[in-house]
């Protein structure tokens, strides 16, 4: 007898039976056979169950379930312009201390449900990012402080004020120091309120503390221009961009603004033949780096050396004598030459927080004549004003007992200050500690008073993000909890009990009305409130001439940089969780990282070479110095000796629903020359036993030989616009069908995605989730590949795994006119509409998932559980992120069905928006305008990569895109005739 292999005991038993019984039993019985046999044995268990089911159902019906009585409760007094069932949009401003975005808030029946970009803003120009999109969910957060507390006990505002003011009076008498510690304040009215507080309490101080600081840049600018400021960058004017570890498309300074500018300069539509060239130097693979035309890997510590070399090469080109610096790990001669040829039309930026690096960058930009061209020094960016030294000094003062009172406004140093433990123990020496947070935060646990601030959607505020660019924030809902605007609290404690709305109005009347050209303040205020933004045209005072003196000492620093060969740990923030402010936002936690596609965790990214050397694999746990254990991701494109870890994870008591997500890397940050450095050198790593499972939405890295993403280079494109897309002609010539192609009466909706513009920032994914009530499934389900996102951004690596190129492709339902999913649905739950939309009727779906299997694009999603609380059966519920609580459910869009367990769902082209705009046009007795219907993904896109419209209209933008020679369809060889087109990616590089 043969040797027997088996996988399980069942297999073994089955095989034994085969061996013993009649000779033909080797054939497994067909299901049909088995059925017939079952029938012949008389009434089977199944027959019984069928009948029993019938009787139970009949009993239920005959007992006639009564329907609940529904109430219709009208307004007592209906406010003008509030129409039940219709959405209103309010212009507002998103600013969380780090990110700025001018927005419109969609309010339905009194509750904000969606954030859109404000196209009137000259700064963000209608773009948004993932964090802005997700911020609306933060309003409906059960972890928010619901009322003021004193030592953990609930008190009233009156009591809190009384006690606090009593203390402040005493402190005043003994001339004690009260410090307001805040994140960067860009609101002029808030600044005025803080000033008022400082005036009322002499000896007190306001310190700004930034989690992600730009101290290095501020210092460098102070040395070169005599003033600590961040200039306004304009990427749209730069034909050549060289970035050094600055993730300006993802998290650096003002990413929405920069993405708008950057993408504008890289569009090759409407006959445009020019695009910018982007070269990026970095250690880890960042969103920005992965979009660059050329990417060089350098360790963070080598940045100074490369910058110094670049400056020297440029100086040589400029005819200046360059002192010698050690040779750079990357040959920068060519780049220097290219930059030099683009004088005044280039931009060099660095994300380093080392003042020396920034000094060299300043010198390079100065030499290239970029100041005044691509960099404005008379317009300042007001974000990241905090100096790290100030915070360090404060902690020292607290330790020595010099601080009497500490008011923490929108900061959480107990989590994100590198020496958090030192800060917490120094807090013991402070007599009065007040926190004014929105969410329950680590720091709030250590204070006397928690005086919760409004969520930004509940509050009045203003902002001056760049010199002269003002914007307003207005409440879009009544405060849900017993919170109070922080400014109002400060003013009250300063002895000026005024409401903040009036205060802002007064500020605007006194300071901004004059230059606005409006006669009456009411007009001025109402117009600006409507627009959300106001350009005063104000410029900063002239700065002093460029002071090159400091640059030389920085270069000297570069000279002494030793080429240490140890491992380095680079810190970065990703586009979803960012600095960790919104760490308990389920939409953001479930958002896959644009590079690794991991969600719900942070990890240590190591290069394939290092992984091979140290025998590391994905999900292997390691310790970095004493930090960890943290799982490893082997990341193509990672610099050999650099390990990257994302900040912002590991918040305590903020996880979803409880517990901690990821590891907090803030304590590893070291301060050098008074600035927090974004890397740590000379680290050692140590393998720890065990693995840690990471949730990854895309494990495949290649396109399996199919031309899913088609790309070319600028040179080839200019020679032949269809380059990279040649295969399309071949496929087209094969497209023959016996059936006539369906004609669509009226509208035929289509979408085009310019792969050259898409940066992969993920704003569309969150926008889609918010618009379409896409559920959050949690880490465990993502591991099972059950994520529900209707739009995903695929990324593929190309070339050498040590330094690959990366391409991205947003994929949603392609709305094929020849849809494979439609043919296989046994209940006709998915059909094709008269307007070319592949439609999905949830209530018809019985969950066979045949469509899912038959979809070549894998864009259909199945509700394995009830994630949103839509189901009548409580047992179906799976709620990993508290998304089924009444409070959270307030964010649901009432125009989109909340799906129950057991149905398929997918992108609908935002059919609710199409129907809405069609109705508007009908009611206004006019045709629908091109560009009027904007799906949520296209609305949110900061790169304007997504175009939506009517393919029947030959004049429409979408028709132009479809006629472009760069246009192709995904897997078009299958003859599915998708309604989504892609424009080839063009890289500006020489091969």
């Amino acid at each position: 007898m043969k040797e027997q292999y088996y996988k399980s005991l069942d297999d073994l038993i089955y095989d034994a039976r085969l061996a013993s019984s009649e000779p033909d039993a080797g054939d497994r019985k067909s299901i049909l056979q088995m059925k017939q046999e079952a029938k012949s044995t008389g009434n089977s268990r199944r027959d019984f169950l069928k009948l029993f089911g019938f009787t139970v159902a009949s009993a239920a019906i005959a007992a006639s379930c009564e329907q609940p009585v529904q109430k219709a409760i009208p307004f007592l007094i209906q406010p003008e312009k509030i129409i039940p069932g219709e959405a209103s949009y309010f212009a507002s401003t998103y600013f969380d201390g780090i990110d700025y975005c001018s927005i419109l808030v969609k309010v339905r029946d009194g509750r904000p449900i969606k954030i859109e970009g404000n196209t009137l803003s000259p700064v963000t120009m209608g773009g948004t990012n993932a964090r802005t999109q997700a911020s609306v969910l933060g309003l409906y957060d059960n972890k928010r402080h619901k009322n003021p507390t004193y030592e953990g006990k609930k008190i009233s505002w009156e009591e809190a004020d009384e006690k606090i003011m009593l203390f402040l009076d005493e402190a005043k008498k003994r001339q004690g120091k009260v410090v307001i510690l805040s994140s960067t304040i860009i609101s002029p009215s808030t600044k005025a309120a803080i000033q008022e507080f400082l005036d009322a309490h002499p000896g007190s101080e306001h310190i700004q503390y930034d989690v992600l600081s730009a101290s290095g840049m501020l210092k460098a600018n102070e040395e070169t221009f005599g003033k600590a400021f961040i200039p306004a960058y304009d990427f749209s004017k730069a034909e050549m961009i060289v970035g050094f570890d600055a993730d300006f498309l993802g998290t650096w300074l003002s990413p929405v603004e920069y993405t708008k500018q950057y993408a504008k300069n890289r569009k090759l539509v409407d006959g445009e033949g020019r695009m910018s060239r982007h070269i990026h130097f970095e250690g880890g693979m960042s969103l920005t780096g992965s979009n660059a035309d050329e990417r060089y890997q350098i360790r963070p510590s080598q940045e100074k050396l490369v910058l110094a070399n670049l400056l020297q090469e440029l100086r040589k080109l400029n005819g200046q004598a360059g002192s010698s610096v050690p040779s750079s790990p990357v040959d920068v001669k060519k780049i220097a030459a290219e930059l030099f040829s683009k004088k005044g039309k280039s931009l060099v930026v660095s994300g380093s927080n080392d003042a020396d690096n920034q000094l060299i960058v300043n010198a390079i930009n100065e030499l290239l004549g970029n100041y005044g061209a691509t960099i404005q020094t008379d317009v300042h960016l007001k974000l990241r004003q905090g100096m790290d030294e100030d915070m360090d000094r404060l902690v020292g003062e607290m330790e020595s007992g010099q601080v009497d009172g500490l008011i923490l406004y929108d900061v959480n140093p107990a989590f994100d200050y590198p020496e958090a433990d030192r800060f917490v123990s120094a807090l013991q020496n402070v007599k009065l500690k007040i926190a004014m947070p929105i969410l329950g935060e680590e720091t709030s646990e250590h204070v006397h008073f928690v005086c919760p601030d409004h969520h930004y959607l509940e509050a009045w505020n203003d902002a001056e993000v760049k010199t002269g660019s003002y914007s307003l924030a207005q409440p879009t809902i009544r405060p849900i909890f017993k919170t109070r605007a922080a400014q109002e609290s400060l003013l009250k404690w300063a002895g000026n009990p005024v409401d903040y709305h009036t205060y802002i109005q007064k500020y605007w009347e006194d300071n901004l009305l004059a230059g606005s050209g409006e006669a009456s303040f009411d007009d001025f205020w109402n117009n600006k409130l409507h627009d959300g933004v106001f350009e005063s045209g104000r410029n900063e005072a002239e700065i002093q001439a460029f002071n090159a003196g400091a640059v030389e000492s920085a270069l000297g620093q570069a000279k002494s940089t030793s080429a240490a060969d140890s491992l380095e740990l680079a810190f970065y923030t990703n586009v979803s969780v960012g600095s960790g402010k919104q760490a308990n936002n389920p939409w953001l936690q479930e958002l896959p990282d644009p590079v690794t596609k991991v969600c719900w965790d942070n990890y240590a990214a190591v290069s394939p070479k290092l992984a091979a050397e140290l025998e590391l694999e994905d999900e292997q746990l390691i310790k970095i110095n004493d930090f960890g254990p943290i799982p490893v991701i082997v990341q193509p494109g990672q610099e050999y000796k650099t390990i990257s870890v994302a900040l912002g994870y590991g918040r305590r008591n903020m996880g979803i629903p409880d517990g901690t997500i990821g590891q907090n890397a803030f304590p590893l940050i070291q301060t050098q020359n008074g600035a927090k450095q974004n890397y740590l050198s000379q680290v050692t790593i140590e393998k720890v036993a065990g693995e840690y499972q990471l949730a990854r939405t895309q494990s495949h890295h290649s396109m399996e030989g199919r031309s899913l993403v088609r790309e070319t280079t600028l040179e080839q494109y200019l020679a032949n616009p269809a380059s990279g897309n040649e295969v399309r002609e071949t496929i087209k010539s094969h497209m023959k069908s016996l059936y006539a192609q369906r004609k669509f009466e009226g509208f035929h909706w289509g979408m085009a995605i310019d792969l050259n513009s898409c940066t992969g920032c993920n704003a569309c994914v969150v926008a889609c989730s918010a618009e379409n009530n896409v559920p959050v499934v949690g880490k465990e389900q993502v591991i099972k590949a059950r994520e529900m996102h209707w739009i995903r951004i695929d990324r593929y690596y190309k070339g050498d795994p040590e330094n690959p190129e990366l391409v991205r492709q947003p994929v949603m339902c392609q709305h094929c006119d020849n849809a494979p999913c439609e043919n296989v649905c046994p209940v006709a739950a998915t059909t094709h509409s008269n307007e070319g939309i592949n439609q999905m009727a949830y209530n018809r779906c019985i969950g066979t998932r045949y469509c899912n299997n038959n979809c070549p694009y894998k864009v259909r999603r199945f509700n394995f559980f009830d994630y949103t609380g839509a189901d009548a059966m409580p047992g179906n519920k799976k709620d990993p992120a508290e998304m089924t609580t009444d409070l959270r459910r307030l964010v649901l869009n009432p125009d989109v069905t909340v799906r129950a367990k057991g149905v398929i769902e997918k992108c609908s082209f935002c059919v609710q928006r199409i129907q809405e705009k069609k109705l508007v046009a009908k009611n206004e007795n006019r045709t629908l305008k091109d560009g009027e219907v904007v799906p949520a993904c296209a609305q949110s896109c900061p790169a304007d990569a997504i175009v939506f419209g009517d393919l029947n209209n030959e004049q429409s933008r979408i028709s132009k895109f479809f006629a472009d020679e760069r246009n192709y369809h995904l897997l078009e060889e299958l003859h599915t005739l998708p309604s989504v087109g892609y424009l080839t990616k063009v890289k500006n590089k020489t091969i």
Binding site: K39, S40, G42, N43, D47, F48, K50, L51, F52, F54, T55, A59, I61, A62, A63, S64, E66, Q67, V69, Q70, K71, A72, I73, P74, F75, L76, Q78, I83, P84, G85, E86, E745, G746, F747, T831, S833, N834, E835, I837, Q839, M840, A841, Y842, N843, R844, D895, T897, S908, V911, Q915, L919, A921, K922, N923, N925, R926, T927, D950, N952, N953
Partner: protein, 449 residues
């Protein structure tokens, strides 16, 4: 489970098995019916016990001091406004206890007073007046027909918080229309009126009488099940009837009827055609839209711009009712509710009649503004309804039928210019009208998304 041919009998089911199933079904039904009667039984129980307590002879002087401590305890433990607490109070002590929370004190009446008051209200007590009983105008139990006069419960609720003097003033010195006429010659004794007030207060505390669920259909269904059982037993075991066709015909007929009942009930699930609930205010569309010719859109003013036609805000009622304080038939009582709602800042909680499931998108603006439909087409002749009733079943079939026949404002509305081919066809005379389904009006995602 249709029994079409005898073949099925042989291969599919064995009679024994079927009988088993049937007996199971009967078991299930009995269980359901039992559960139903159970709940009813318990209601009966509580009603009975109340009755018993009420009719038990009690003496006001009996054991006041002994039980007052007891009462206090009960009152503190239970919610004083709840029926249970009230009953406990009554059961434990027939005299008003002194040491009760402030709210409860006001409403504790002697049981005899309450009983007497009820009799008086119902007109069972002989009194000197020749007037009709109170209940002849103010009904105690909910009625099918519209009674313009306030119900006993309405009155009870309104005067619960008010004192006797106020109550008396209203009854004895009626103002306005109908009431003045009917109450004209009232000259009740204070003692009598006090008992009426006691009864009404008690009624208000007790809340509306619970409506017993009807089990007619269920009983009928069970009865039919018995017949089926008998017919089957006859066919297989007893075989007493000479003609075998008879039990078979009976079986098929009865079973068919059962299936029909189930089908009808099944279809009705989730639908509410002819739903005609009582509203918190006896608002008559017949009076407003019919007699007074007020345009529908005056009150439902968002119908042309929103998906929702809108229930009018209460202050809109006051546009007229700040002046019109009295109705011809309803008197002042109903209109006063609107004014009170506004004054007390408590919105009126209307009972929603037309309610589509959550997975259906429906826009009034689309149908009324763009489609130029008349309200009547879906809501029936509301101008003839005193109490609004849902005329159509609002089923998907009903929607689709209309979408298949209804003409679109194709030529009049410029929006439809995008449909060039159809315009072409009209020009050529190939079609004479464009119905909703021709432009995708029967697509799933017109309503479901």
């Amino acid at each position: 489970m249709k029994l079409k041919s005898p073949v099925l009998w042989k291969s599919g089911f064995s009679p024994k098995g079927f009988l088993f199933v049937l007996s199971m079904s009967i078991f299930v039904f009995s269980a359901a019916a039992f559960a139903g009667t159970q709940t009813q039984q318990s209601e009966q129980d509580s009603a009975d016990s109340t009755a018993v307590e009420q009719s038990a002879p009690t003496n006001p002087s009996d054991s006041v001091s002994a039980d007052s401590a007891n009462v206090e305890q009960t009152a503190n433990q239970a919610d004083t406004t709840s029926q249970a607490a009230m009953e406990d109070t009554l059961a434990a002590d027939s005299a008003p206890a002194k040491s009760k929370p402030a709210g409860a004190e006001k409403f504790s009446h002697y049981r005899n007073d309450i009983k007497r008051g009820e009799r008086f209200f119902r007109g069972l007590l002989p009194h000197s007046n020749q007037q009709a009983s109170c209940t002849s105008c103010h009904n105690i139990t909910p009625s099918d027909t519209l009674n313009w006069n306030p119900s006993a419960l309405d009155i009870a609720n309104k005067y619960l918080e008010k004192d006797f003097a106020e109550f008396k003033a209203v009854v004895m010195e009626p103002s306005g229309g109908m009431m003045a006429e009917v109450h004209k010659d009232y000259n009740f004794e204070d003692a009598d009126l006090k008992t009426v007030k006691a009864y009404l207060d008690d009624l208000s505390m007790r809340g509306p009488a619970s409506v017993k669920p009807t089990i007619d259909r269920l009983l009928l269904f069970l009865f039919l099940g018995l017949i089926i059982t008998w017919a089957l037993l006859e066919m297989i075991f007893f075989r007493k009837i000479k003609y075998k066709a008879i039990p078979l015909i009976i079986f098929l007929g009865v079973f068919g009827f059962q299936v029909k009942m189930l089908y009808e009930d099944g279809v009705r699930l989730g639908r509410s055609q002819n739903y005609e609930p009582a509203q918190p205010i006896k608002f008559s569309h017949k009076v407003h839209a019919g007699q007074n010719q007020i345009d529908c859109k005056y009150c439902h003013f968002t119908v042309e711009e929103s998906k929702s036609a809108g229930i009018p805000p209460t202050d809109l009622c006051l546009n007229c009712h700040s002046l019109v304080r009295e109705g011809t038939r309803s008197g002042k009582f109903e209109i006063a509710k609107v004014i009170e709602a506004t004054e007390n800042n408590i919105p009126v909680e209307w009972v929603r009649i037309h309610d589509l499931p959550d997975h259906v998108f429906f826009s009034h603006a689309q149908h009324v503004n763009a489609g130029k439909l008349d309200c009547i087409e879906c809501h029936g002749d509301v101008a003839e309804m005193d109490v609004v009733r849902q005329v159509e079943d609002l089923s998907m079939g009903w929607c689709i039928d209309c979408h298949r026949t209804k003409e679109v404002q194709f030529v009049d509305n410029n929006f439809y210019e995008s449909y060039e081919a159809l315009h072409e066809q009209i020009k050529k005379g190939e079609i004479d009208k464009v119905t909703v389904d021709m432009i995708g009006g029967t697509d799933c995602m017109k309503c479901h998304y």
